[in-house]
């Protein structure tokens, strides 16, 4: 019904967070000076946050399409067909609290796993590089 609104809200928050983190990283590089940066370094966290943004925005986009397909989202007020009836609204809110939150949690959990694995790979690669030198 409207479960997709939860990942959309999360996507807005993570997009703003990614912008802030990106600016901070750019400032840090400016302070250090690009010439002082190591030859090989870890992937910036802002880039990893973009993975989450892409998953949330992309997934939400296709799910919104599915909701339009099933006439659950309409181009006129209140946009969600379930919002025009009190009983349907209660069911919609329940679906947002269960399926919607579940979607956000699963996507975030998969992203956390991706960040964990990529960090481990980066650490291993950097360790191998320092031991070679």
């Amino acid at each position: 019904m409207a479960c997709v609104t939860v990942p959309i809200v999360e996507a807005v928050i993570t997009t703003i967070t990614a912008k802030v983190v990106e600016e901070k990283e750019a400032k840090a590089i400016k302070n250090i000076g690009e010439e002082n940066l190591p030859e090989q370094e870890k992937m910036p966290f802002s880039r990893k946050l973009k993975w989450l943004n892409n998953m949330l925005w992309g997934g939400s986009g296709l799910l919104v399409f599915e909701h339009i397909w099933h006439c659950e989202i309409v181009p006129w007020f209140p946009f969600l067909t379930a919002a025009s009836d009190a009983a349907d609204t209660a069911a919609m809110l329940h679906e947002m609290a269960t399926a919607g939150v579940g979607m956000s949690l699963l996507v975030t959990a998969v992203w956390l796993a991706m960040v964990g694995i990529s960090s481990a790979v980066e650490k291993k690669a950097l360790k191998e590089q320092t031991s070679e030198n």
């Binding site: 479960c3 997709v4 990942p7 993975w51 892409n54 998953m55 949330l56 925005w57 992309g58 997934g59 939400s60 986009g61 296709l62 799910l63 399409f65 599915e66 397909w69 269960t98 399926a99 579940g102 979607m103 699963l106 996507v107 998969v110």
Partner: protein, 104 residues
């Protein structure tokens, strides 16, 4: 069916991303994330539907299955269109810029 089609699209995209050398120039990672994000969300949807209808979930009516398949392929097509829009707007290879600023 929608979930299955999206998972296939995500898996194929990821394999292409891994194999190709121009993955960042073609923004293939973005396409992979679009499909994986949708697949994960539809997976949650499927789990909740399975809890609700139990074994009936695996024996859909042919009409529903056809509609779901049609939806799945349309969703994959929409994902491709979104990816293409991102690719042309960000223009990592500078093709659009070069075409627009071509001197005659």
């Amino acid at each position: 069916m929608t979930l299955l089609i999206t998972v296939f699209a995500a898996a194929v995209c990821t394999a292409v991303w891994y194999k190709t050398d121009s993955r960042s120039e073609m923004k293939l990672g973005t396409l992979c994330m679009i499909y994986w994000g949708a697949a994960l969300m539809w997976l949650v949807d499927a789990v909740f539907e399975f809890v609700e209808v139990k074994a009936e979930y695996f024996t859909p009516a042919p009409k529903d299955m056809l509609n779901d398949a049609f939806l799945g392929f349309s969703a994959v097509a929409l994902g491709l269109v979104i990816w293409l829009a991102v690719l042309l707007i960000e223009d990592p290879k500078g093709v659009i810029k070069e075409t627009l600023l071509k001197k005659h």
